[in-house]
């Protein structure tokens, strides 16, 4: 059983590398700005096929599970689970913040991680927030988007990932990078514990937790659209673009302040 899952994980990893490589190569060819209204989707037919499978799985398994989780599990337990999962994600966020040129923020994130892992009992309680260390969530898709010299609406070709959902060349590459640099993945693998069990548990919980928080928004989008696939494609692209734009504006404001400080020093 473990051998099978390991082979499966390896094959997923291989195919993700292929996808990411294709992403970087083809993403570079994206001509002009796709804009939010017309998302570049050359793989629309296979994407729609994967979308229909994802939806079937969602309707039959993931959504009912997420609804039960939301309605039956006590709210404090849900918060605890979310905090543990968020805490496991902090190192990846810190690594991305370094790549985003913000080592100070990365240090804050690592301080959060250390405080919550110890005083916060393995991350169950977010005590760092009450110390004034605010939580951030960064991923490599945003890091690429921050430095790429294109409109953030242009994330390369649109991609519907099996089980994961909407993505694009930029965010798919980012997802793979985050997976590769994740210390917890490397750690569990190197300690030769049953890492696949831990990983599946973690990603499974992440999926249920995330889905439980998107029930309202996705139900609404589905109910009020005539072409759910197209509406989701547009909404995903706009939402990611907004996150990246926020990042860029913040960076610009800071670099502008630094520029003024330097001018003051010269004078």
């Amino acid at each position: 059983m473990i051998g099978v899952t390991r082979a499966f994980a390896a094959s997923i990893r291989r195919s993700m590398v292929a996808v990411a490589l294709a992403g970087t190569v083809l993403g570079g060819c994206a001509s002009g700005d796709t804009g939010a209204a017309e998302v570049w989707d050359p793989l629309e037919t296979p994407n729609r096929f994967i979308f229909s499978i994802n939806r079937a799985v969602d309707v039959m398994a993931l959504r009912p599970l997420a609804v039960m989780y939301r309605d039956l599990v006590p709210e404090r337990a849900q918060t605890g689970v979310r905090n543990v999962l968020d805490n496991l994600g902090e190192p990846v966020t810190a690594i991305n913040e370094v790549f985003q040129g913000d080592p100070n923020r990365a240090a804050t994130t690592m301080a959060r991680f250390l405080v919550n892992s110890t005083i916060g009992v393995a991350g169950i309680f977010d005590v760092a927030s009450s110390f004034g260390l605010e939580r951030t969530k960064e991923d490599f898709g945003k890091t690429i988007g921050l430095w790429a010299g294109v409109e953030p609406e242009n994330g390369g070709f649109y991609l519907m990932l099996p089980a994961y959902g909407p993505s694009n060349a930029r965010d798919g590459t980012g997802l793979m990078m985050d997976y590769l640099v994740d210390p917890f993945r490397i750690l569990t693998f190197n300690l030769a514990v049953d890492w696949d069990v831990w990983q599946i548990g973690r990603y499974g919980m992440n999926a249920v937790d995330y889905r439980s928080r998107t029930i309202f928004a996705l139900d609404d989008l589905e109910k009020n659209s005539v072409d759910y696939y197209a509406a989701l494609r547009s909404a995903y692209t706009q939402n990611r673009a907004d996150q990246i734009r926020e990042k860029r504006e913040k960076t610009n404001a800071r670099s502008e302040l630094e520029r003024r400080d330097n001018l003051a020093l010269v004078r």
């Binding site: 209204a37 659209s225 005539v226 197209a230 509406a231 547009s234 706009q238």
Partner: protein
């Protein structure tokens, strides 16, 4: 003769009043932050007090009073607006208004104590004014809402960066493309959904 003079006075008065309202009226009413605040208050009041068909009708009233529905629908239809017939356009406008009213009245369910905090107001070069705001919930993170205001009407709402009009545009365009590039099937579909 005096009668004529008095008529002239009345006419002058009417003309001045018309000019006055044309120039000053909209400028007073067109404080974008106020428009957004007023709209939010009206919607919250409706959600608190009305349900079912009453609520939908009231929401439709708010939409038509504060939003530039025809412009939003036209943008949402994109280039297909030009190919649509007059009759299709009229049917489309009506169906979209009903669909939005229905969506909004079902979206809120029961009033859950949400409040709207207005943030900064930024004019854009294209003549639109963006009003930032946050929808505070009783539990969880506040939701980021940006309102696009032109003149004295709201022309778009962005929820966490997702524009209502752009999403509809993408949605409608794709539907039209998959139905022979014609507007008619979309209009029929929207009408069928509105009747449901």
């Amino acid at each position: 003769m005096p009668k004529l003079a008095s008529r002239r006075v009345v006419l002058q008065f009417v003309a001045t009043a018309a000019v006055f309202t044309a120039v000053v009226g909209p400028a007073v009413a067109a404080d974008p932050a106020q428009i957004v605040q007023r709209t939010a208050q009206q919607v919250i009041e409706i959600v608190k007090t009305k349900t079912g068909a009453d609520r939908q009708a009231a929401i439709l009233g708010v939409l038509q009073a504060n939003f530039d529905m025809p412009a939003m629908a036209r943008v949402a239809l994109g280039t297909h607006w030009n190919t649509a017939t007059e009759q299709e356009r009229a049917r489309f406008l009506k169906a979209v208004a009903t669909a939005e009213a229905k969506a909004y009245s079902e979206r809120f369910g029961q009033y859950g104590g949400q409040t709207l905090t207005i943030g900064k107001v930024t004019p854009r070069t294209n003549g639109a004014i963006i009003v930032d705001s946050r929808l505070n919930q009783t539990s969880g993170q506040p939701i980021k809402l940006e309102w696009e205001v032109r003149g004295d009407r709201i022309t778009d709402v962005k929820v966490e960066g997702v524009s209502m009009v752009m999403t509809r545009r993408s949605d409608f365009n794709s539907y039209i493309q998959n139905h022979g590039g014609k507007v008619e099937p979309l209009v029929s579909e929207l009408e069928a959904r509105a009747a449901r």
